[in-house]
């Protein structure tokens, strides 16, 4: 529980004149549920996109399990063990629910065009293993009975669970959840919290970006607060709730200072 699974050092990303992430130093403890919070435009999603490799840093460095990620592209980071979900879901609507999860097994299987085209025994064995593993992840998020449905036919709450199952199918060691609670009702949020704890028990480190403070304070063991691209505070949930700078960032400077 002590060594950091992910570190950022002076991580900076600018878009034109705008500095979206500004010299952020992070150290994410392995196994600990970490939340990244902050007002709109604080740079939370940009931070995720930097970790996932969608954007490359303007300066600074990201270390995953002690090794720099450098300029490695998103697909290679997925293979290294970094998985993510998206704010806007992004499921594959041209596949069934089960196939969506099966596609998550991509970096954990190794057979290509030739084995597939000729239906060699290796392809057969791998497919059977992929189906079994994917059903397990689908059952874990409670969508087992919808395996043959089209993901677009599911309500938003279940679509979000499906994106988590797809991300888990890549068998990650670090899971980035981008606003998993947005658009969910109270009951669904309850289920989400339980699911995130179960993911933690599987030995996966979870970082979530979230606006819902009840959800964050309920499950996060460490909270990082961003404002205008800079880290303004970090600590346990109760420490953060009392932090003056955090209150100022959320309520506006005048009220916070007064």
């Amino acid at each position: 529980m002590s060594s950091p699974i992910l570190e950022t050092k002076g991580l900076t990303r600018t878009f034109g004149g705008l500095t979206a992430v500004d010299g952020v130093d992070l150290s994410v403890e392995s196994g600990r549920i970490t939340a990244v919070i902050g007002p709109n435009g604080a740079g939370k999603t940009t931070l995720f996109n930097l970790i996932a490799g969608v954007y490359m840093p303007t300066s600074g460095d990201i270390l995953f399990e002690g090794k720099t990620l450098g300029k490695s592209p998103p697909h290679r980071r997925a293979a290294l063990g970094i998985a993510r979900t998206f704010q806007n879901v992004l499921l594959f609507d041209n596949m069934t629910v089960l196939e969506n999860v099966m596609s998550g097994q991509h970096p954990r299987s190794r057979y290509g065009f030739l084995e597939a085209a000729l239906r060699l025994p290796k392809a057969h064995r791998e497919e059977e293993r992929i189906v079994l593993a994917s059903r397990r992840f689908l059952n874990l998020v409670g969508l087992g009975m919808y395996a043959d449905r089209n993901p677009a036919s599911l309500p938003l709450g279940q679509q979000k669970l499906l994106t988590i199952a797809r991300a888990l199918a890549t068998e990650p060691r670090l899971l980035l959840l981008d606003e998993p609670g947005a658009g969910l009702n109270a009951l669904e949020k309850q289920g989400l919290s339980e699911l995130i704890r179960r993911i933690q028990e599987m030995g996966i480190t979870v970082i979530l970006v979230e606006h819902d403070m009840d959800l964050v304070m309920g499950i996060a063991e460490w909270v990082v607060v961003l404002d205008s691209g800079q880290k303004i505070a970090e600590g346990t949930a109760s420490q953060i709730q009392k932090d003056k700078k955090v209150i100022a960032a959320y309520l506006g400077d005048e009220e916070g200072a007064g």
Binding site: V54, A78, F86, M95, S103, A116, R166, T170
Partner: protein, 331 residues
């Protein structure tokens, strides 16, 4: 339970339909009544291989290409030139042509797939125009607009593919093999990767799929299919000129793919057959206005059956079976 029933019907009827098609295909060249369709069906099989490549690329992977006839032409001309002018064994010529088309697709694939959507369509269209112009203008090599005749036929040992029936069986063997191989690819890890790219490129990357690698690979495969089709075409017709490899031909291939159903392996064959039969049996009466009719067909299908006729008919049939099954089932 409902899905179980659906899967069962799908399987049973798919096998029946496949068996019926095979039986028909075997009967046609041997029957004195139907054998007049042998030539038409031979060209359907050749065209279907080109359409199939486009379906894999456009329907499954979501990458538009108006350039498939360029590879079709490369296969045709390399086979023609090597076997006629240089006396190379036609099979070896076919193999060299396929390798060259694949290598060419690989080399232009990385820069071309930096483009998306309309830009990709324009770039692939440019490819057709360039290749077509080369066929026409490199007269000393290609015979120019008049083309080349007297291209040797294919043979294995003592078996010569020089009659309509033998060429028919040869070409259909290739076409069915390509269809089955493609079906296997689509139902695999690779197929899921391709469909994932179509669904969402960002999400595909997030599950470890290397976008450009898969786009280029399927582009190469589609080029190899088209090239083999081109080789079969010249050894069947024993003549080649630039006309089947131009822009209009490329639009025809897109029409065939759309009519059958872009995201459907067997739809590629179905769409090719529908369009070719229409053009042979009906559209001839329209003379040079036929291109207007193709345009209309393309529009009507896109508006009313965007998933393609093959998929549309299959789904309608399945719904009808399910409805009957429910009515017959004691409640």
């Amino acid at each position: 339970m409902r899905f179980g029933v659906r899967a069962l019907y799908q399987n049973k009827w798919a096998i029946l339909a496949f068996a019926a098609m095979l039986a028909l295909l075997i009967v046609v060249p041997l029957s004195p009544v139907l054998d007049k369709y042998t030539m038409l069906l031979t060209f359907i099989a050749i065209n279907a291989m080109v359409t199939l490549g486009l379906c894999l690329l456009m329907g499954y992977t979501g990458q538009v290409s108006l350039g498939q006839t360029a590879f079709y032409g490369i296969g045709a001309y390399i086979s023609a030139i090597l076997s006629k002018t240089y006396g190379v064994n036609p099979w070896l010529a076919m193999l060299i042509a396929a390798a060259a088309a694949g290598l060419f697709a690989y080399l232009i694939g990385f820069p071309i797939f930096r483009l998306r959507g309309n830009y990709l369509a324009m770039a692939t269209l440019g490819l057709v125009l360039v290749v077509y112009t080369l066929f026409r203008e490199l007269g000393s090599l290609t015979g120019g607009p008049d083309g080349m005749s007297g291209i040797p036929h294919l043979s294995i040992g003592g078996l010569h593919f020089n009659t309509p029936a033998t060429r028919y069986f040869l070409v259909w063997s290739f076409c069915l093999a390509a269809l089955v191989l493609s079906q296997n690819i689509i139902r695999s890890r690779t197929g899921r990767a391709l469909r994932a790219i179509h669904g969402s490129e960002a999400a595909a990357q997030s599950v470890g799929i290397d976008l450009s690698r898969y786009k280029v690979k399927i582009f190469v495969l589609s080029a190899v299919y088209a090239s083999i089709a081109g080789s079969l075409f010249v050894h069947t017709l024993r003549f080649v000129n630039p006309q089947p490899f131009g822009f209009l031909a490329s639009v025809m291939i897109v029409t065939m793919a759309v009519v059958g159903g872009l995201a459907s392996i067997w739809g590629a064959l179905f769409g090719t057959a529908v369009v070719r039969i229409l053009s042979n049996e009906v559209l001839l009466r329209f003379g040079s206005l036929d291109i207007i009719v193709y345009g209309l067909i393309l529009m009507v299908v896109m508006i009313f059956v965007p998933q393609g006729l093959f998929v549309g008919l299959r789904d309608t049939f399945q719904r009808w079976r399910l409805k009957r099954a429910r009515q017959e089932a004691p409640t």
